[in-house]
């Protein structure tokens, strides 16, 4: 056996890993047999490439202008931009799905140096790194056009800058991998991400209000950034451009120090992985502890009015909502956005006078948005059930119980959020006139009761499994999304027609009366649909189980 064994060197091992990555990519593409998926993927790739290419021109122009016009201190801004992108983008996408873990290669006889170099190579193959390399090349080209003698120095600085970034990015990635190995940390990370995305929406109003006061603080903070990588790289290039080689060498030495520091820390991290670090999600064995007696709590009052089966589905849905970061934030976001929108509209209100027509239309529009955001998950309402969906078919129940439980939770949530949003709206903008207010509420009942049977039908016909606490690699059911948008367009059209009918017929209460009639009909239709949907569930159960139990 030993006679035919020939261990490849470091280069050979890297080549093998590169081939493995290529095959993984090729095989992943094979699964996307749906033509629309492939087109979507290509479009997003083209869009991403255009974005990178557009910024290449910006970096080229920045570098050229700063060097040719003598704004040498501003060059650091370009490097800071690349630095922040390179380090932040991989962190943002880290928590949202499984990707190939190169740590799994440790089962093969790789040397520690090969493991380290492959780790770095992986870092250079990331989207963030490739885009950054393009931008650094653009900076070099800009420098070449402005001051050709700076090119060798820029190339050298860029090389050290790349080494520093790739080491740091892998270091952060390696720590993140360790932290995110646990499900709870992953979900917490995801929740923080959503929260930061929501917070970003408030940046613009805050800058508008406090921007002038912040400006001196920003100037002071910029000085304190001098010992850090972006400023050091800028200082080295600026030094070379101004023939001040002391600055050039100081900047370069500072950057090199960071390279050595991050490389050493990364070596320590990779060595820990190389020795065999345990990142398992399974809990460690614990000693048996005496179980606390279950609290003898009675059934919640609201559940006593429901059949045990409906009550249990409702309770289970509630637990799932609380434990699913994505769904939970989807639920709390609409009132926050309404607060955000009304903050901006509220500032407009101070400049305008009274509650004019756009403001009166804003209330139904905001409420329509609320219903749209909240009802969207109902079109694929079994997405998070996983294999548990089998329980519904094994238990001696009719499927109407499942839909009733799921839909009831949605209605409770919607009612709660409506109250919150109306309070926000009234506080920031003021309530619309009574006929418009009542018409909107009746329209919500009509829209919800009318949509739920369609959403339930869509959930049975177009199920797609989604995983808790993940975003990357998660794709909603295309047909469910199409159905959702189709229904919104139809309902939006009907709603707009009825709302404007009040003006046409000069009867402000007409829309409220029309929506009330439609709401009553939709409610009757909803209850009538449950038995038909139960039968449909029996017919569609194989498709449902196949889609969710994988």
């Amino acid at each position: 056996m030993a006679a035919v064994t020939h261990f490849p060197g470091v280069i050979g091992q890297i080549r093998l890993v590169a081939a493995l990555r290529w095959r993984l990519l090729r095989n992943a593409m094979r699964r996307k047999n749906n033509r629309l998926d492939l087109i979507g993927l290509l479009l997003s790739e083209i869009f991403g490439s255009l974005l990178v290419l557009g910024l290449c021109f910006a970096f080229y122009a920045g570098s050229y202008n700063f060097l040719s016009r003598g704004h040498l201190n501003w060059i650091a801004l370009l490097y800071w931009g690349i630095f922040v992108w390179w380090q932040l983008f991989p962190v943002l996408v880290a928590g949202f799905g499984a990707s190939f873990e190169f740590r799994t290669l440790l089962r093969f006889p790789l040397s520690r140096s090969a493991f380290y170099i492959i780790g770095l190579a992986y870092g250079l193959a990331d989207v963030s790194a490739l885009a950054s390399l393009c931008w650094l090349l653009s900076i070099t080209l800009g420098a070449a056009a402005a001051q050709p003698h700076v090119v060798p120095a820029t190339l050298l600085v860029n090389l050290v800058f790349v080494l520093m970034n790739v080491n740091l990015e892998r270091l952060i990635g390696s720590w993140l991998e360790r932290l995110l190995a646990r499900r709870r940390t992953r979900e917490l990370f995801f929740a923080l991400f959503i929260l930061s995305m929501v917070s970003l929406q408030f940046v613009s109003p805050l800058i508008e209000r406090y921007g002038d006061a912040l400006r001196p603080w920003v100037r002071v903070a910029y000085q304190y950034l001098a010992p850090f990588p972006g400023s050091l790289a800028g200082r080295a290039v600026a030094g070379a451009a101004a023939n001040q080689y002391g600055d050039f060498f100081l900047g370069l030495a500072g950057l090199s120090f960071y390279v050595l520091l991050f490389a050493a820390l990364l070596w320590v991290r990779f060595s820990a992985q190389y020795r065999g670090e345990e990142l398992s999600e399974a809990p460690a064995p614990s000693r048996l502890i005496p179980r606390a007696m279950a609290k003898e709590t009675g059934e919640a009052a609201v559940l006593r009015f429901l059949s045990p089966q409906v009550a249990e589905v409702l309770r289970k849905e509630f637990y799932y909502l609380l434990r699913n970061g994505f769904s939970f934030f989807l639920v709390i976001m609409p009132p926050l956005f309404i607060l955000l929108f009304t903050t901006q509209v509220g500032s407009l209100r101070h400049r305008s006078s009274g509650f004019d027509l756009p403001h009166a239309s804003l209330f139904p529009a905001m409420m329509g948005y609320l219903v749209f955001i909240l009802i969207a998950p109902a079109y694929n309402s079994f997405a998070y059930e996983g294999r548990g969906v089998q329980t519904y078919f094994m238990a001696p129940i009719r499927f109407r119980h499942v839909f009733l439980g799921k839909n009831l939770l949605f209605v409770f949530l919607l009612a709660l959020e409506l109250v919150l949003s109306i309070v926000f709206f009234a506080y920031r903008v003021g309530l619309p006139p009574a006929p418009r207010f009542v018409a909107t509420l009746a329209a919500i009942v009509f829209s919800v009761a009318g949509q739920l049977p369609i959403a339930n039908w869509s959930a049975l016909n177009f199920p797609r499994k989604l995983n808790f606490g993940q975003m990357r690699g998660q794709r909603q059911s295309g047909m469910a999304v199409l159905t959702l948008f189709g229904v919104q367009i139809v309902l939006g059209g009907i709603g707009a027609l009825i709302l404007f009918s009040g003006r046409w017929f000069d009867n402000p209460w007409l829309p409220a009366e029309a929506f009330a009639g439609l709401a009553a009909a939709a409610l009757a239709g909803y209850f009538a649909s449950l038995d038909a949907l139960s039968e449909l569930a029996e017919k569609k159960k194989e498709r449902l189980l196949e889609a969710l139990c994988r």
């Binding site: 614990s286 309770r315 799932y320 294999r387 094994m394």
Partner: protein, 262 residues
């Protein structure tokens, strides 16, 4: 003859051109500990899925406890318990929450559900992690919880798809004694397992399915009688299984081809 708990008549399931289960006629008496065996891909799980209402047969009939499944699905489901392939757990509930959910879905009242949940968690040694989500359980713990959920309503027939896979020896011993006592009290247990020693120790009757067809059915003694044995030694279930399914080793790969390894 004893009451029939499970009876199928030409039960068939096709997936496109593939016939996964081909006209099988099963007869399982009430209170039997019944082993359902077959090699990988033979049609065991497909059969269990049909018998428990997770899959619709392409043709044929099945009766459980004298009730036609197609006509009385809810009544039948009330009387059966299932540990399906993949276990069918809601992974974002705790063990206690899941048992509470299942108990109530089967119509148990609140105090009974609570009491049985606590007792089952204690018995399955799952009570020391009251706040852990099922997603954080080990595979063996999930298996034990799935079994607890299958018995919480006191079923008359229990379907178990590989119930001992991943369960430690200690828990497996406790489960076997529990299942044995349930069978003694008249519960019919329909079990699939690849571990033939377990089936041989627990089951009184066995059926073997191969390429979708039922190739043997009867008590262990009846099956032994059909296989020639060496004088003085008792034929094992493994020998019976191999003689029926493996045609005495004719399908084994040619080991000579792996001479470089051997």
């Amino acid at each position: 003859m004893a009451d029939i708990a499970i009876s199928t008549d030409k039960l068939t399931r096709r997936f496109g051109a593939l016939t996964a289960v081909d006209s099988i006629d099963l007869q399982v008496a009430a209170g039997q500990f019944f082993g359902f065996l077959g090699p990988n891909g033979a049609g065991k799980s497909t059969t269990i899925k049909m018998l428990t209402g997770l899959l619709v047969p392409t043709s044929g009939r099945m009766q459980l406890l004298g009730l036609d499944f197609a006509v009385h699905p809810v009544e039948v489901k009330r009387q059966i318990g299932v540990v399906p392939e993949g276990m069918g757990l809601f992974e974002r509930l705790t063990g206690a929450e899941y048992l509470h959910f299942v108990g109530r879905m089967y119509g148990l009242d609140l105090p009974t559900t609570r009491q049985r949940s606590e007792e089952l968690l204690e018995f399955m040694q799952l009570a020391d992690r009251p706040k852990s989500l099922i997603a954080d359980y080990s595979h063996g713990m999930q298996k034990k919880l799935a079994l607890a959920a299958a018995v919480i309503h006191g079923p008359r027939i229990l379907f178990l798809d590989e119930p001992f896979e991943g369960v430690d020896a200690l828990a497996a011993g406790a489960l076997k004694s529990l299942l044995g006592r349930m069978a003694e009290r008249g519960v019919t247990i329909f079990l699939t397992s690849h571990v033939l020693e377990i089936v041989e120790r627990l089951c009184s009757h066995v059926a073997i399915i191969h390429q979708g067809r039922l190739v043997a059915q009867g008590s262990l003694e009846e099956l032994r009688a059909g296989v020639p044995s060496e004088e003085g030694s008792k034929t094992t279930l493994e020998q019976i299984f191999l003689s029926i399914v493996g045609q005495g080793g004719a399908e084994r790969p040619q080991l000579e081809e792996l001479s470089w390894l051997l």
